[in-house]
């Protein structure tokens, strides 16, 4: 077969010694075309744009190519440059325009800017913000996203570096996408079917005035660029291949991949922050600005991306389509998503065009969209986020209720019941998939710390322990911090199981924080965004030291997966009980409640919760359909009797009563 060469694969003129021709405006970014590279960049207010080319690692440019006026279409500058060796090329843009900050314009032709569409940044060293051109072909073979029903997910939130960076991980490339591939068997054994990766877009790891370290990465620079330092091959500029390989291998194991994405702000900060990309390309378009050109700060980090501006909206959409279509990512969790419903002045929009576009986008149709439905300026939309029947939400109220119940607060038993059945007070018309339930996340205490500390201990963050949330609903079980008191340790072990079991027996999509299944601690630090070390890395020695907790969690996940009734169903499939069968006690002083989830057949589960410090004897409803009750889990029992292998639960000796221990959860199943 003869492939005709395109008739525009020839230069028409030379600029700065390079053969070029007028480029194609779309797609934005740097795209390989026959014989060359097409560069396209947007700026509405620029007076001139120059393409700056570097040989890799060189301090000075090898060429600067001003875009001729004839190469501009509207506000898009496009040029095809021929004869470039893309593997040794770094590039950026020099953009001139008005320097009138009071009008929102901060052009600075002395700074070479990153391409916001760059699919790779150099990612390390003094030139880490320079853009690179990717070879974007990848052999996906027959990769298919698992396309699991949303309500069947068990999400596992992890930090790519922290998951395998600890020397105990035993992987060949610690702290990388490749290292994570080596831990897929662990994820399979645990039973989770979805990983949510904390930010993997390029960010500046030194972006923190207190410790000099930004570990979490909620301050993006390159929205299309997988973080090079998370790739074993980053220095060889193969992070895109390595990331795609990770997705492909996770899919092969039946595990979906969600990305935690940050579209509410960037690493450029406010007036005092650096100029890296958007600020110098078109500050007034990309950021929400006050009438006198200052930055609105709804994100708590200095600036706010102007995400409902039509150009920025297009940028966000292009970005998500890239990750979905080219990188096969299965969905996204949007950091501080309430901001995405704000207009240019921060006002709340009733029909936010960005959220609507994402909800109805053809490429994103089957991808999960999960909102962290609040922002740093007090907008709290859990239950009221504009969802278009597509968006689900991190359910902060689930977290708070389960925490309060487990630590023994009075007056929350009724609300716990509501949270356990998918929070119908907020999501009745949207089904169980609308609520992502969690007790812990990266943001706050780990599960072990939740039961070990009354107060946060963030001294090492260098902010006088003033950072991080004070309202944790945590309880130290009698001693603040590490202890060898066996009674305290036993109670903590039980409290961790209580939280895990409630989470995995609730309707909605459960999300686990990586390491909670083996008792990871951050020594009471509830805002460890600024530590890249043993405090935040997962110590794999815990897998052996807390083997009991791992086994318990694995069985609880397997049990959930064996029982569809726990994942969704009609309100009529849940019946409430208390100390007396069929008589739940919704009084404020009640600490005991039991839910009977009956999906028919063998899919019948009785979940009893007791947050009282005394035992109680519960009268059991008769097991339906002439079956008998079997004990799946009892957090008051010593391991390994705290949970049984799903399918092999022993029958209950007394079919009419269940004794439930102090501060414990028990689950029965019919056979």
């Amino acid at each position: 077969m003869t492939i005709l060469e395109p008739i525009d694969a020839y230069p028409t003129q030379r600029i700065a010694g390079y053969p070029v021709r007028a480029g194609r405006s779309l797609p934005f970014g740097a795209t390989r075309v026959p014989g060359g590279v097409n560069f396209s960049v947007f700026s509405n207010h620029a007076t001139s744009v120059t393409l700056v080319l570097y040989r890799e690692g060189e301090p000075e440019p090898m060429a600067e190519l001003p875009f001729p006026e004839s190469f501009r279409v509207g506000s898009v500058y496009a040029m095809t440059v021929f004869g470039l060796d893309v593997e040794r090329l770094e590039y950026g843009y020099r953009v001139d325009g008005p320097r009138r900050p009071w009008q929102g314009h901060r052009f600075d032709p002395d700074t070479v800017l990153s391409d916001p569409y760059a699919r790779m940044l150099t990612g390390h060293g003094p030139y880490r913000h320079r853009s690179r051109v990717t070879l974007d072909d990848f052999d996906w073979e027959d990769d298919r996203p698992p396309r699991l029903p949303h309500e069947d997910l068990v999400i596992y939130e992890l930090h790519v570096r922290g998951f395998t960076r600890h020397p105990s991980s035993g992987v060949s490339a610690p702290g990388t996408y490749a290292g994570l591939v080596e831990k897929i068997p662990y994820l399979r054994e645990l039973g989770v079917n979805c990983v949510e990766l904390m930010p993997v877009f390029e960010f500046d790891e030194t972006d923190n005035v207190f410790t000099g370290v930004n570990y979490w990465g909620y301050s993006p620079i390159g929205f299309f660029a997988p973080k090079a330092s998370y790739a074993a091959t980053g220095r060889d500029h193969m992070q895109v291949d390595e990331f795609k390989h990770l997705v492909k291998e996770l899919h092969r194991a039946g595990i979906e991949v969600l990305l935690d994405v940050v579209f509410n702000h960037t690493a450029e900060g406010d007036e005092r922050g650096p100029t890296i990309s958007f600020k110098g390309l078109d500050n007034a378009t990309y950021y929400m600005l006050t009438a006198d050109g200052h930055y609105y700060n709804f994100s708590g980090t200095g600036n706010t991306l102007n995400c409902n501006h039509p150009v920025v909206r297009g940028f966000v959409l292009d970005c998500l389509r890239y990750w979905a279509a080219e990188c096969h990512v299965d969905g996204f969790r949007f950091d501080l998503a309430a901001i995405l419903g704000r207009g240019a002045d921060g006002e709340l929009l009733h029909n936010p065009p960005l959220l609507e576009s994402l909800a109805y986008d053809p490429i994103l149709r089957d991808r999960k969209l999960i909102a962290e439905a609040w922002d740093a300026a007090g907008l709290y939309q859990v239950g009221s986020f504009p969802h278009y029947s597509r968006w689900s939400e991190w359910n902060g109220r689930y977290r708070d209720t389960v925490r309060r119940y487990v630590k023994g607060d009075l007056g929350v038993t009724g609300e716990l019941a509501t949270r356990m059945v998918g929070s119908p007070d907020m999501y009745s018309r949207r089904g169980a998939a609308a609520t992502v339930n969690f007790v812990t996340s990266h943001d706050g205490f780990t599960l072990r710390d939740l039961v070990s500390y009354d107060h946060k201990h963030n001294e090492a963050n260098g902010e006088g322990n003033g950072d991080g949330d004070d309202a944790n609903n945590s309880w130290n079980c009698g001693h603040e911090g590490e202890t060898d008191d066996p009674a305290v340790l036993a109670l903590r072990a039980r409290q961790q199981r209580n939280a895990l079991l409630l989470l995995l027996a609730s309707r909605g999509v459960p999300m686990l924080l990586a390491g909670d299944e083996i008792g990871r601690t951050q020594l009471g630090n509830n805002n460890a965004y600024c530590h890249d070390g043993p405090l935040t890395w997962l110590d794999w020695g815990l897998r052996e030291r807390n083997a009991d907790l791992f086994r318990f969690t694995r069985r609880a996940i397997a049990f959930r997966r064996a029982h569809p009734v726990l994942r969704g169903g009609s309100p009529g499939s849940v019946h409430w009980h208390g100390v007396r069968a069929w008589s739940p006690d919704w009084a404020a002083h009640s600490r005991v409640v039991a839910a009977l989830f009956d999906g028919g057949g063998n899919d019948c589960v009785y979940v009893a919760a007791n947050s009282h410090w005394e035992s109680h004897t519960l009268e059991l409803p008769a097991a339906p359909r002439g079956q008998t009750w079997h004990l799946f889990a009892d957090t008051a029992a010593a391991p390994p009797m705290d949970a049984f292998e799903p399918g092999s639960e022993p029958p209950l000796a007394n079919q009419s009563q269940l004794s439930i221990g102090p501060r414990s959860i028990a689950i029965l199943v019919t056979h």
Binding site: V86, E87, L135, D139, S172, T176, M238
Partner: protein, 111 residues
């Protein structure tokens, strides 16, 4: 980049001497195709390949895919630890039969 072909037993051994990167890749791809037999066993010896870039790995994969569509069977040998690590992390390694020596390659391909 220099390519050399020799026959050892019934096996075509092609050794690649130099750098395989975006500059040399198009030429190497052409030359490799020219050196490939119509059928039989081929071992690509990379022990004198000093550097392998992202584009270089793509050449190897393209050659491998072509071999799959013909009756040629292909193995790689002489991977440096660095190249091997890169191929492992990006999944390229999984596509190939990789052997420790030409002799082992003959054995692996004829089994």
């Amino acid at each position: 980049m220099r390519l050399q072909r020799e026959l050892r037993g019934g096996v075509t051994v092609i050794s690649m001497d130099g750098q395989l990167d975006s500059e040399t890749a198009p030429r190497v791809q052409q030359d490799l195709q020219a050196l490939f037999p119509e059928e039989g066993l081929v071992v690509l010896d990379l022990s004198r390949t000093l550097y392998m870039s992202s584009a270089g790995l793509r050449v190897l994969l393209l050659i491998y895919r072509q071999a799959q569509h013909s009756t040629v069977r292909l193995a790689l040998t002489g991977l440096s630890p660095d190249v091997r690590a890169i191929m492992d992390a990006t999944g390229f390694l999984g596509f190939f039969t990789v052997v420790e020596s030409v002799e082992e390659g003959v054995e692996a391909l004829t089994v």
